[in-house]
Amino acid sequence: MDTLLVLIPALPFLAFITIVLVTNHDKRLSASLTIGATALSWLLGWYFAFRALLHPEHYAEHPMAWTVPWFPGGHTVFVTGFQVDLLTAAMLFMVPFLCLLIFIYSLGYMEGDPRFSRFFAYLALFATGMLGFILADNMLLAFIFWELMGVCSYLLIGFWSFRKPGETHIDHAQVERARRASLKAFITTRVGDTVMLAGMVLLYAMTGSLRWSEVLAPHTLERLAEQMTQMPVFGDVRWATLLAILVFWGAIGKSAQFPLHVWLPDAMEGPTPVSALIHAATMVSAGVYLIIRTFPLFHVVAHGHNGAMWFVAFIGTFTALFAATIGVAQFDIKRVLAYSTISQLGYMFAALGIGAYVAAAFHLLMHAFFKALLFLGSGSVIHAMHHGHHVAHEHAHGEEDLGGLEFNPNDMRFMGGLMKKMPITAWTFIAGGLSLAAFPIITAGFWSKDEILAEAWHNGHMWVFWTLAVAAFLTAFYTGRQIFMTFFGEPRTEAARHAHESPKTMTYPLIILAVFAIAGGWVGIPETFPGLGPLVKGWFQSVMEIQAEALHIHMEPVPFNPVPALISMTMALGGLLVAWLIYGTRPLGFEDPLERPLNGLWQVLYHKYWIDEIYQGTIIAFAKWFAVFLYKVDDVWIIDPLVDKVGRFGRWLAFSTRRFVDEQIIDRLVNLTAWVSNVLGEWFRQIQTGQVQNYLLAIALTVTVLLLLTVF
């Protein structure tokens, strides 16, 4: 039965192959293949997930597994395969389900696209990558699927860059932006992946294995934690710390943490389902999943000496706040969400950095649901705006005044009042937004975020707690701002006036996701929470704690503390309230009400701290200069002339060799051999007289001599 695990990633892959090779021309069939394969994967995935989650004690220690020998490596055979333990089960609950919903949503969103089939082929390939990644039982296989996702990300972000401008509604600038964004995403994540690859190679060198079960075995980890290595700048470093940080860099790239976060907002150039799927719900959470998976490696070094944990906590916390501040000053509906994603992923890393294994996993799942919902909702809005713009254009009486701005269906400044036009989208979006803002008690986001804050408070990481609390406030604020700017007030443009609700293939997934975004968190209400706690008894926590125990991570249940809970609620409600005060109480123009009062700070935030420009001016400029320099070294100054000289020397050498060695020595030797043979032949042929009597005489003489020898 466990062999069926193979099918979970294999089915979408088969769909991909079939679409690319066979059904490319039939859009309907291609989409059906992808959705059908994913649906089967989903059913299988839930079967395995629930089997594991309902018998947690057994499967925490003995994961469902399917293995096969891969290749011989030195003394051992490298075994690969798939496994389902409780962590994988939790992911398996979320990933195929979200994939399926988003694929269905894509049916409506991508309607009429000339490369519809191709899009679904990529989606299927992506599903293969993500499912394979969470199921892989060793790091190498996981890395392969990880990179497969990277490729899909590149292909899907740049999906519209392969299009000729004017083919449909995509203009030239957008094509160019998509092309740049896809390259940026690919190259930026590659930076992290390279470091991670180094970590993986070192890990293999140190432990002789890459299987999770072997690498993360307690005695292996203790050995890694005790052995020291000499580093150039940092001095003595424990192997565990070094390896953990190297692996974490992979997560920094994939999960868009500072300083490698720059690709994610640009990735919003891709079609919105892609943003929802890859850049919010699943792929970026792969980095978090990787760290949760390898958490024992981070955790094994005692607290206080643990540079890796500190590093993770710092990066996570910093990114959480940093991205949240940028989110405040963005106008593109998807970019706001993109920065919120970065920020929320920062939350998860911060949680991991302070040892909140369960809370991180919980937030990962909850975030996936509500962020997918938000992105799909924003896609629905963009779809409607686009459509409205199109309709408005047909009935246009002259150019519309947009405050000197160019129309962009993503721009929230051109929206407003969409609640009446598209109620389903609006209500589901609001549900997701409240969850993101951690609206107390009812939303999933509250329970997961509160858990992180409670852990931080409980374990005494006050700087983490307060930074995250501020970020929570900002999150609530920009979420509220987004909701009010988009759905409330009066329509600010003709496009918004002509918008209408999206088709059912788009709204149904939204409704389903909204249910999860609200109710999903209830499985994780901590047992100690007054009133509600005893009803649920922290089911999710207890399951994940069993998994943690199996990995020899000791989790102390956090007792309920009203102080952080109240602070958390205050921040969420306060953020929403401030947003309502600024954006909800009076009609908005094309200028943000905060733009003038904050002035300089606003510019900083609007330009994203100029991180992109800084990179452009430093690293990329250096890389370009270095490339030119190397080109000069290569072609002009050193290598080419050297190669030339070597070539000339080779020619001279060959010429001299021919003249002095070949012609003078070798040739003469050969001729000498022939001459000797000739002389000998001439000499010996005289014996061959052809006269029988000569031979007879020779015989007679020989016999005579022999006889003489015998006789005397």
């Binding site: 010996f684 042929r685 005289q686 014996i687 061959q688 007289t689 052809g690 006269q691 029988v692 009597q693 007879l696 005489l697 007679a700």
Partner: protein, 102 residues
Amino acid sequence: MVPLSWYLAVAAVLFVLGLFGVLSRRNAVAILMGVELMLNAVNINLLAFWRYTQPENVAGLVFAVIVLTVAAAEAAVGLALFIALYRLRESVNVDEIQLLKG
């Protein structure tokens, strides 16, 4: 009675005379005559040994008879060859026949 070694001595002399003829003569027919002399020497030996060692065993006689037969056959074929050769080359001089000269 004549000693055996006398016969053997006569046969030896006859044999080397034949050998000398074979080695020194030009004419193929003369060479053939030398060969016949050598064969006669052999026959004398055969009969001498028969007579002086085992006269009751006729093997020596049988061998002599067969040598005689072979000599006849050899002479017939040899002479036929000479005639063919002569017809071809207008010569039976052995030293002029050296097709295999290296």
